[in-house]
Symmetry: C6
Subunit: 311 residues, 6 copies
């Protein structure tokens, strides 16, 4: 089987530094330092992409050849499409690769009300009249970042069509409203993601868009790997983490039989974090694994039963 | 049963101060002081969140472990989802927890015409050109408040997608129109609510959104507790309050059999307040309990009969 | 039966003053002075609500306990909902109560293209940049008026959701675009109306909105009372007025059998006013009672027959 | 039968004056002077309604009591609704009554993209910032004109709801965006029109709107009267005019049997005008009566046959 | 048969002048001078309609009485409606008549996203504040041009309703946003066109619009005439032109049997122009006649067969 | 068979220059210099079309007479329509022809949210008020470029109608909002493309648009030619390229039987580029050929089987 699986979430090697800040969400280790630098504003002088550089290595343990394949794709600047279910690590993988390649990463969460101008830029009114403001795609193309359009299938067509001239030989971005043509920086690469389980009915990318991308599949990791990740990320012991993964595996079998999606690795880390905080395992699982994803009484009973089987 | 119930409405311990102001809505005690400080404008200099700090303890009597669970969730900054029927105290619980944790609380009532810009912010035109105005979500993320999106399922997709990067490990909020990335303040937490009875048909959160939250269930309190709350909040005696709760319990059994929702604790306090003002109990119940929720003649008869059973 | 009925239209006690102005619509008495003061502009300096104060008593003869019930509701600032068919006097009742309580009244006719900004306010561009303009709801909340949203069910959801924080214990109005939170003035009360006959199919208030209000029912007055009102308001004699009411009662029986609504008291006053002007009764009834409400030939015959029965 | 019929189009008594201007559309008499004064701009200083005053009597020969009924309605400022098919003279009647009553007339052709702001007014940006521009309804209400909303049923709901406070006892127009309440000028009256044949399916006025108006019915005039009008207006002899009316009567019998509308008096005047210019009668009828209203081959044959019967 | 046919496209009498410019589209004669004057900007000082005057006679050979009928219609300023299939010469006829009558011509291609403001005008922001910009309809009405709305049925209702007061006796154009009423210049006339084959299903003009116009039918010319036009316009010999017309006649018989429209005269001139450039007739016909109008394999075979029959 | 096929992608004759820049997407040759000049901004002084000139010959090997046909069409400025499946070289052909004819090329990727203003231009606010900004179509028409509207069928009707006066004899572009009429520069030509496989259901060009264009068909090249292109462009050997073409041919036979589109030449070059980077052929094909175009398990198996047949 050649589906790629990957190791989730950053290593805790940096534990102990920067203890002045409380822990960010879903992080049980109280002193974990942030992954991003302090200067988070893009409008600074020297480096317009400073806010988008990743200064600390995100944790990623390659399972198959996904890192090598991505490196080869980046070498020829092939636009990439990452496919997989919710919360399985697509965003993390892009962050890891951006770090590994030493390139800035600009991430855009797509939605159906996003316009092409939200990507490309727009004129703002200034004291001296209108001033052009690059959108995230123009910023990435102009100065050379990896631009990651998360859940691109949610976006309107004008958003997906606007990437066409950036994803073929031309590698350019016409700013029609400004009358400028950006020739993409040599470092620029476009990456998109979507969840194949969603896009089947009404929403799908146009064939003329799909054909512009190479594609990598992602899925939840195997049992041992996932348990290790959960233990590592949440702070629970290896045995508890294994039980949580067992619960998730049961829930994933219910996908399509009353559940739209299974329980993701991210949710297991949530549960583990609560347990590590002293919350009883039953309460933690109900709060982090069961209640969020279903309100159906029968389905809740089934999931609660899975929880009590292990705790 | 581990469904959380909670005590409604603030204690009247503060009665007697600030008597110059008339009683606010649904408050029978004429001299109750306001819960909010005088300086209600956010644009003040020193503390941009001054208008959102809760200076007086809202009344909350924990029934189950909801306070401890929430505290554990906040400790790891897990985004939280509060589920339950209309008027059962979700908003009050968040206010109580914000007070208990000593964090400011920014509440946003979501609706289907709300845009992502309403949350994130927008440029306003000024004498010196455009000026950025943080939206409530950006304000909370930048300066460290709990941001509570009430009835989030009513909002459009761009509103729900905009919270994604704030609710995973990244904890950041890209202000794409401004070209800035806000790294969330360590105190920031996102809380959302919705009513599972509503969202079943067309509106539902995307799975990729749900999975980012831990969830707590809420429901109406048990008989004795609810009667105590009604008596306390409305000023009627304990026996009258008990009768009102009996009427509510009958109405709640009609939910799904002609009533979309039962009678909430808030409505009982309305009825009690009118009785405490000298309105006859029958008139008060019709006005506050029956007439607001149904125009169906049979259903009105059934509810009126329930009222006359007790009064 | 405890449905409230009420006396329509202002008493003519003021007849004879201010004769320089022609009669306003539907008023047969040529010298009736206006109910509103001359200074109708809200932008005046001292009292921002001057345009909304009611300086002359609107005519209202209480039938049941509606005045006492409303007074009790206002005493606890309970938000109120007035239900009843078109043209039965809901608006007049609110005007009367505002006069009786000595509070300004801001009325907003809701419609489906009204936005939350139309209620709350917006930024206008000025020579010095943008300037905030309070909407009618913000004006009422800030300075203490009764705000009456007429036919609220016509409005879009963002309009109804925006009133939520004003109608529970919080009594506040967040001006998200301005970054301000208005704490409602102690005099502020919210009143809404709608016609239950309309909202049955697609449009209805959300339960979470309905539960925030106490409700009063309104209907057309009884025969004797209505005839007295028609005679009084239109200037016809008591016998003619009685005939007009008989015609209306026949038409009201046809509601749901080919007529969407019956003939309202307002329409009877229209007919009476024409008769008082010398128009033959048959012509007056056709013009004021029959032609406006139906184009169906059979229904017109039925109504014309009712007219010729009495004239 | 009490359906009102009326004489179409202005008398030619004024023929011979103002010969410097070519004939306006549909007018065979080459020297007819315009009905409107030269100063057609409303922004003039002294009289803001100068552009809307009618200085020359429009031709109108009362058939029934429509003039007297309208005068009675205006005396009590009853809002009026004019019903009837396309091109039967509703607009002309309002112009005649405005002239007879000596009041300015502001006509608005309603359409489904018209907003409330188009009626009420809006802020315009000026060198000194925003400046309020009264819409036609505000202009009429403020300075005292008859405001005629033509085909009001085409307008969106916000347009029809905005007239409510102007059409009941209050006679006021809240300019919510400006924070002003216009108390209607004593001369103000609102008149609306619509074609009952159109509004049956999706579009209809709300009952709460209809009930605010008295109504007058209009239809095509009787044979002799219509022939006289056609002869008079188009310049053809009385016999030719009679033939044209016969053709129209045949076409009107086809309404609902393949034709949406019959041939209107306006179209007959078109045909007569062409004949008076020397165009052969057959060509003139095809061009002015048949070709405009149908592309169906069978229906064209039927109408062409009706033409050749008389010419 | 009284269907009007007309001669297409301008005579080449002017050949030989102005050779400095390359040939415009679809013109085989390399030195044809442009029909329009050099100063194509409307903002010039003296004559606001200078850009719209036609200084050179467009070619038009009257077939029936269409020129005389139009002249009679213009004499009484009757609004005109030109009906006929795509590319049969409606636009050219209007240009010819405008030239013959010596009036400027303003042409507007209608579409479903066109608003009334696109026709009437709008305020633009200037250094001194807002400035009114007449739209094409206001320009024509104010200064006296023929205004030609091409394919008017594509436009939204607000566009068609806005022409009503210009197309009845009033001949005025209210600029509601400006508060001005334009009384139409005596030279003004409104002309509209549409293709009856299109408007049958969802789109049609309202009857109240249609009745305001006289109508002329247009169709493709007869064989001999069309061949002469094609030869003249494209530069091919008379025999080749005849073959092209034969092919078109075959295709027109397929209309409704797999083809939405037949091959127009314009397309024949395209094919002829390519042949005159040395392109083989088979290639030219496929490129100019067959490929543009169908992708259906069978229909392409049928049309290709028709081509090979003659070439 | 007269379907035109063409050679894809630029020759590598320029290899070796400009080695400082990394390779653009889908280009295996690391030192390929960009096709576009450095000055990519249109706002430069002297030549407003400088950014749109093609200074280096794009690779194109004519198969049939497509180059000659296009040259003949350009000689008479016939508007052109290029038809063919996704990724078969339509855009490249236009670039080649623009280079060959020595004309600038302005390419616009159409989408359903594009407005006519996006093509024609709009007013921008400046320090001195509004300033007109030509859109790409106006720029091309004014200064003389080939304007290429890619996938024009995606655009809204206002976009397609706006090109009408530019594509008939008039060759003009009315800028209605500016009050200017651009007479097209003699060099101007309009070219559009679309994919006949897409537009069959809801989207299609109007007949009145189609008839204005000559049309050329495009398809994937024959086996030998395509293999040569793939080898040349991707850097793999001729044998491997041939295997890739075999896989594509199998996939193209599945079009309509589970695949919306086959595998394009562009995708084969993607796969070849990865192989040339050292990626195993199986992985490269899955990533570049199979995963991007289908998520259906059976279809993936079928395509994977085709891959393993050859590798």
């Amino acid at each position: 089987m050649n589906t790629l699986t990957r190791r989730l979430y950053a290593a805790r090697a940096q534990q102990g530094q920067g203890a002045a800040r409380p822990a960010p969400a879903a992080s049980a280790s109280p002193a974990a330092a942030p992954l991003r630098p302090a200067a988070a504003t893009a409008s600074g002088g020297a480096d317009p992409l400073a806010a988008y550089r990743i200064t600390r290595e995100p944790y990623w343990r390659p399972v198959a050849d996904e890192v090598a394949l991505y490196e080869a794709a980046y070498a020829v600047r092939m636009p990439m499409m990452l496919k997989g279910p919710t919360g399985c690590g697509k965003t993390r993988f892009v962050e890891y690769m951006a770090w590994k390649l030493g390139k800035p990463l600009i991430t855009v969460a797509c939605h159906e009300d996003m316009t092409a101008s939200d990507l490309v830029g727009r004129f703002l009114l200034d004291a001296q009249g209108t001033r052009w403001q690059d959108g995230p795609l123009a910023l990435a193309a102009r100065y050379g970042a990896i631009c990651y359009l998360d859940e691109v299938v949610e976006a309107r067509q004008d958003t997906t069509v606007v990437i066409h001239p950036l994803t073929d030989k031309r590698r350019m971005l016409p700013l029609e409203k400004k009358g400028e043509v950006i020739e993409a920086h040599p470092d620029f690469q476009l990456v998109i993601s979507f969840n194949p389980g969603y896009q089947s009915l009404m929403k799908d990318l146009k064939q003329s868009t799909k054909q512009r991308f190479g594609a990598l599949d992602f899925d939840y990791p195997e049992h041992e790997v996932e348990a290790e990740i959960v233990a590592h990320e949440s702070g629970v012991d290896r045995e508890t983490a294994g039980k949580l993964v067992h619960i998730a595996e049961r829930a994933r079998n219910l996908k399509g039989h009353g559940l739209d999606e299974g329980i993701s690795t991210r949710m297991l880390i949530h549960a583990g974090s609560l347990i590590a905080q002293g919350v009883p395992a039953l309460s933690a699982c109900r709060m982090a694994l069961v209640r969020p994803i279903t309100d159906d009484a029968d389905m809740r009973d089934a999931l609660d039963a899975a929880v009590t089987t292990y705790f």
